[in-house]
Subunit: 446 residues, 2 copies
């Protein structure tokens, strides 16, 4: 059987490797348009922070290792351009300009996502860069090395933009963020996002919200990000507005799309074509809280979905659970985490949500070194279910969120969650874990 994979990052290589492990006689081919496969994309901001570390530290396994050790036919520099579901072929062109065509019995589309670049003047200047592929990372790093970069402007205030602040400040680059929307982090409760704002400002990152970007101007070897009311000087501009799923290839082949134009998949990762699967940032998923389709492109899901595809094409029936949208990121010394729905999402999905925000401490009463933890918890007044949690603090946030993620997966009520037997020792939290305290308070409202 021929298993063809388009895209050689998290989802694609996870699927290829596991399929080959499942069935060593499987003929597995991976078409990757860049020169890189299997790297830790999320590690790029941290790598960029350190001028001395080679970007290739982030490569988990090189293409030739997949070829020689795992007998996977990894073809880098191979850009797939069309899928023909009737003939079961994929056509495209390789880096040297040669056209290619591959047949398949089962196809995985793992084309990932692409940074959103606004169609505005100046976004094609050489100093304006996005950060998605390893090649993007290399370009940013090379640019920082080659130029006297004193000032950076980050356009957008998402996870990647926020992580890049720490990275650029570590390299002593003056950093400003700007975005058109009036609210700093609209998905987050202001009581929590204000803490992040303060952390950024105390690390000398300037935040400009509510500024429509008009164009980027090149001026005497530097740049100016021109907004409606202000203009910001920059030696480098990072476009971190967000990503969109790379689903055009699938759509052109007649495969159904779903929310946010992500490729529609079922619990077995199958698309509307029974021989074609999709996984990773290009594909949708079910949400464990709403049971509705959602598109939250994150690394764990990409890896897990890759495995799911591999198992399913090899005849094991694997149905993936939904996702909770659990995410964590670091903003300088601050840990920020979320899982489940925001208040707005809860309302939109027909819940009758109630929310509480608690400020408590990261360590027990009288234990030295304690810092504040702030938690937002949302529950449904009708069903009593836990719907979502957001958390911000200097310690004890990143892994604490997972207890809530497991609770969401189990459709727990806030009451049942408030009864869970969580760990306690004075260096790690109060007797009543901050999550339990928040659940206890939320119970009074639902």
């Amino acid at each position: 059987m021929k298993f063809l994979v388009i895209g050689g990052d998290a989802a694609g290589m996870s699927a290829a490797s596991r399929a080959k492990r499942n069935k060593p006689d499987l003929e597995v081919t991976v078409l990757e348009k860049t020169d890189d496969v299997s790297y830790s994309a999320c590690g790029m901001p941290y790598n960029i922070a350190d001028a001395d570390r080679p970007m290739d530290d982030l490569v988990v396994r090189q293409a030739h290792v997949f070829k020689t050790k795992q007998k996977i036919n990894v073809l880098t520099g191979h850009c797939a351009e069309s899928v023909n579901p009737e003939n079961r072929t994929v056509s495209g062109v390789s880096a040297d300009g040669t056209a290619f065509q591959f047949g398949y019995d089962k196809l995985l589309i793992a084309t990932g996502g692409s940074p959103i670049i606004p169609d505005l003047p100046g976004f094609d200047l050489p100093g304006v860069m996005a950060l998605k592929s390893l090649e993007d990372g290399r370009k940013i790093k090379a640019y920082l090395k080659a130029h006297q970069v004193k000032k950076a402007v980050i356009i957008g205030m998402g996870y990647i933009g926020l992580e890049m602040c720490e990275s650029l400040r570590a390299r002593s680059v003056e950093t400003a963020m700007v975005k058109p929307g009036p609210v700093f982090l609209p998905w987050m409760a202001p009581e929590l996002s204000d803490v992040i704002r303060q952390e950024l400002e105390s690390n000398h990152v300037k935040l400009h919200t509510g500024y429509q970007i008009e164009r980027i101007k090149s001026e005497e070897g530097r740049m100016k990000v021109i907004c409606a009311d202000i203009s910001l000087d920059a030696d480098i501009v990072i476009a971190a507005i967000g990503i969109k799923p790379n689903s055009e290839l699938a759509a052109d082949a007649g495969i159904k799309l779903s929310v946010n134009n992500a490729i529609a998949t079922d619990c077995m990762l199958k698309t509307s074509d029974e021989n074609i699967y999709a996984a990773g940032d290009c594909a949708d998923a079910y949400h464990v809280v709403t049971d509705e389709k959602t598109w939250i492109p994150l690394a764990l899901r990409a890896n897990r979905a890759g495995w799911g595809v591999a198992d399913n094409i090899c005849g094991k029936v694997v149905e993936l659970s939904g996702i909770a949208g659990t995410a964590v990121f670091k903003v300088f010394d601050l840990e920020v985490a979320r899982t489940g729905l925001t208040l707005k999402e809860a309302l939109k999905s027909g819940f009758d949500p109630a929310a509480v925000i608690i400020k408590t401490r990261s360590r027990a009463h009288a234990h030295p070194g304690s810092s504040p933890i702030r938690i937002l918890m949302i529950g449904d007044k009708k069903s009593g279910r836990l719907l979502g949690v957001q958390m911000v603090g200097w310690e004890g946030v990143a892994h604490r969120i997972n207890a809530a993620a497991v609770a969401l997966q189990n459709r727990m009520t806030v009451e049942a969650f408030s009864q869970t037997d969580l760990a306690y020792a004075p260096p790690f939290g109060p007797v009543w874990d901050p999550l339990l305290t928040t659940a206890n308070q939320l119970l009074k409202k639902i």
Copy 2:
């Protein structure tokens, strides 16, 4: 209605306070034999570590505050000696020698636990001390201040003994641990407990396992802990062998006892007498994994059970979930956590357990500052259920265990747990959280 509480620590004061909040016209009396109520007992090792911090930092709320602000009749120095369930009275004697008797409509026995002190010569020497009550803590601290304490011997290797190592080493006291049992931490997988042993040894704590203690001898102002084959010099001896439930008062009143002689309670915390409740270290609980009775005296349960009693006597029907035995403690820089059953407990409870041990990293591939995390995970081959987790590492252990604790509460299978959407960012873990990697490995065995 008269609500009488015997014992003024976690369970007792939680119950008294919440009962009064629930029903302000309730007549609430607390009989506490010591002079202290409502303090953070678990904080004592950390307080002892710092010579300059007053022990009373650990008092959360003083007796007079309960009296004046909450109108709770808190009587310290009141030792209850007998309960008469027929007349609904409690008799005893106060610190000044006066006999007392109180009537009740509902009684809570929250008498806690007592350190096990072996009936051997020398355990009554003034330099031999246990650590359970705040007064115990004060005594240890005063002793360290008054004497030239250069050497300590800790008898027993439980949570408190291990925490006291860090405390004594912080005060530059040479520390040795000794116990009769041949195995350092018999409840833990050796691959994990060896890491703890190394952490202790690299902090210059000497471990002596398999030495039967015969007596403690006073010799020229110092002590010698005499064992079968060795004798250990000591200026202070900490007896940290374990605790037993203070259930004699209940037993004498004809109330049924349960495992480990803890007071038998139902999900509503009621004992075999319908007007008498029990909570805290003196009472048993159901285990969420086995559904059997268990006795695992820990602080969160004590607080939660106190609340449960308060709600139930006030007419809200509250049934407590069981406990998972989730615990975390710090051994110098090491975080150690567990939840659920050990392999031995799983076998004893009739499961058909399989276990895996994984060594992975606390941060993502190529992220600086990573350290090893070791995880033991146990699942049941028959039902596929997750049964227990143990974890040891220098970061990312204390709160990570809670995800497994929530899974146990929901009786999740290892497979379902392996599908949970846990958080990922490079500074906080690999893409596949260590718990997920372990679950994935365990799946191959069950």
